[in-house]
Amino acid sequence: MRIILRSRTKSIFALLIALFLLSACSEPKQEIHKYSYFTFGTIIQLTIAGVEKELADEAAAELDTKFADMHNDWHAWQPSPVMTLNQQLAKGETATVDEKLLPLLLKAKAFTDISSDTFNPAIGHLLFMWGYQKDEQPIEPPAQLKIDEYLNNIPDLSKLKIDGNQVSSSDNNIQFDLGGFAKGYGIDRAIDHLKSKGITNAIVNAGGDLKVIGQQTDRPWRIGIRHPRKTGSVIGLLDVNDGESVFTSGDYERYFIYEDRRYHHILDPRTGLPATDLTSVTIITEDAALADAAATALFVAGLKDWEKVATQMGINKVMLIDKHGQLYMTAAMQPRMQLVEKDQDIVISRTISDENR
C-alpha cells in the first residue's frame, strides 16, 4: 500500500512539475537597450526594444555618426553648407544647395508659410544678437536700438526662391538658423534609419523631444512630460503610438536672468523678444520636423492665435500651459494626457477638429 501511495504521489508530482514547466515556456522577456550620446548640440537618448543587443549596438553607433554628420551639415555658426548659403544670400548671390540641405529649406519655407510668421527659421541675425547661437547662456539682452533695427528688417522667407537646387532671395536679411526644426527633421531621419535596419520598437529622444516606433515589449511606449515650473517632476504621462512624435517647447529649457528679469530662448520673430503668454506647449503629431516647428510656432502665437496657427499647420493634439499655470488642451489631446494631478481645471478647445490627421 505504502508503495502504491508513494508512486501515486510521485506520478502526480511529476505531472505537476511538467505542467509548471509547460506553463513557464512563455517567451523570454525582451530586453530594452538604452544609449545616450552628446551630439547634434544636445543629448540624444536612444531606447531600443525587441532586438538582440548586437543589432541595437550597431544601430546606435551608426546613429551617433549620422547625428554628428547632420549637425555639421546644418550648423549655421560654424563652417557648413548652411553657413555658405547664408553668406551667399547676404551678398544677393544665387546659391547651389546639395540634396541633403534642399529638403530642409523646402520645409522651412512651407512651415513658415502656414505658421502666420510665428515660425521663422531665417532669423539668424536676431538669434546672434541675443547670443543664442552659442552653447553658453547669454548674459544680457540686446539693446533696444538693435531690436528696433531688426524690426525694420524682419527677414521675409516668402522672398526666398527655390528653383531646383538653385536658391536665391531678394531679401538679404535672410540668415538661416535651422535649429528650430532641424532636430525634428534629424529625429525623422534617425527613425527611418532604425526601420531600415529592421528595428521596429524604439524611442529617439533628442534633448527632450522625441519620436517613437512600435512599443515597449507588450505595452505602448510611455512618456513623461516635464512640469514647466516644478523642477524634477512630471505634469502628465502619455502613451505614444507607433510613429508619433511628442515635442514640447518650454520657456524653462534655456533662459538667463538679467536685472531680475527672466529672458528665455523662444523668440517671437514678430517682436524680436521672448514670447510672453505661455510657459510650455506640447504637441503630438507624426512628422517630427512639423512637430518641432509647430511647438515653437504655437508658443510664439500665444493664447490669442494658437488655435488658428494649429489649424493651419494641421496639428490637432496640443497642450498649453500659460504663465499662471492654467492648462489648455484640444479635444483630441485631452483623452491622451494622463495628468499627475487629476483634478486640474483644463480649458478644452473645440475649435480644432477631433479627427486624427
Binding site: I32, K34, S36, Y37, F38, T39, G41, T42, I43, Q45, T47, D64, D135, E136, Q137, I203, N205, G208, D209, L210, Q216, W221, R222, I223, G224, I225, R226, T231, G232, V234, L237, L238, V246, F247, T248, G250, Y252, E253, R254, F256, T282
Partner: protein, 119 residues
C-alpha cells in the same frame, strides 16, 4: 477566534496597508542612476547611499549630490547651469544633463513610470 487568529488578522491588515503605501503612494523611487560621461564611459551608482560624486567632464568637474534617494547636479563648471536648474531627480526615467561638460544622469528604476521624458 484564537489569539493567534487575531494576530494573523492584525498582521494581515498591516501588510495590506503597507502594500497600498508602497505601490500607490510612492511612485517608483529610483534604485540606481546611470551616469554617462562623454557618451563613452557609463557607470551605475546606487541611490541608497547619500554621497557627493565628483565627475570629471570635458570642461571641468561636475558635482553630483545623492541625498534621500534623490540626485541632482550640485555644481557644474558650465556657464548656462541648465543641469543645476533641473533640480532633484528621483523617479525612474528622470534625467538631467550638462551639455558643455558632457555628463548625463538618468535614474534607472525597476518600477518606472515612463520610458523617456519629454521637455
Amino acid at each position: 477566534m484564537k489569539i493567534g487568529d487575531k494576530l494573523v488578522l492584525i498582521i494581515g491588515i498591516v501588510l495590506v496597508a503597507s502594500l497600498y503605501k508602497q505601490l500607490w503612494f510612492s511612485e517608483g523611487h529610483g534604485d540606481f542612476i546611470q551616469i554617462t560621461i562623454d557618451a563613452k564611459e557609463q557607470r551605475l551608482v546606487s541611490l541608497a547611499e547619500d554621497q557627493i560624486l565628483k565627475m570629471k567632464g570635458k570642461v571641468g568637474i561636475s558635482e553630483l549630490e545623492i541625498h534621500n534617494g534623490k540626485i541632482r547636479f550640485k555644481h557644474s563648471p558650465c556657464t548656462n547651469q541648465i543641469c543645476v536648474h533641473t533640480g532633484w531627480l528621483e523617479k525612474g526615467g528622470d534625467f538631467a544633463a550638462c551639455l558643455p561638460n558632457r555628463i548625463a544622469v538618468e535614474v534607472v528604476a525597476n518600477n518606472t513610470l515612463f520610458d523617456s521624458i519629454n521637455f
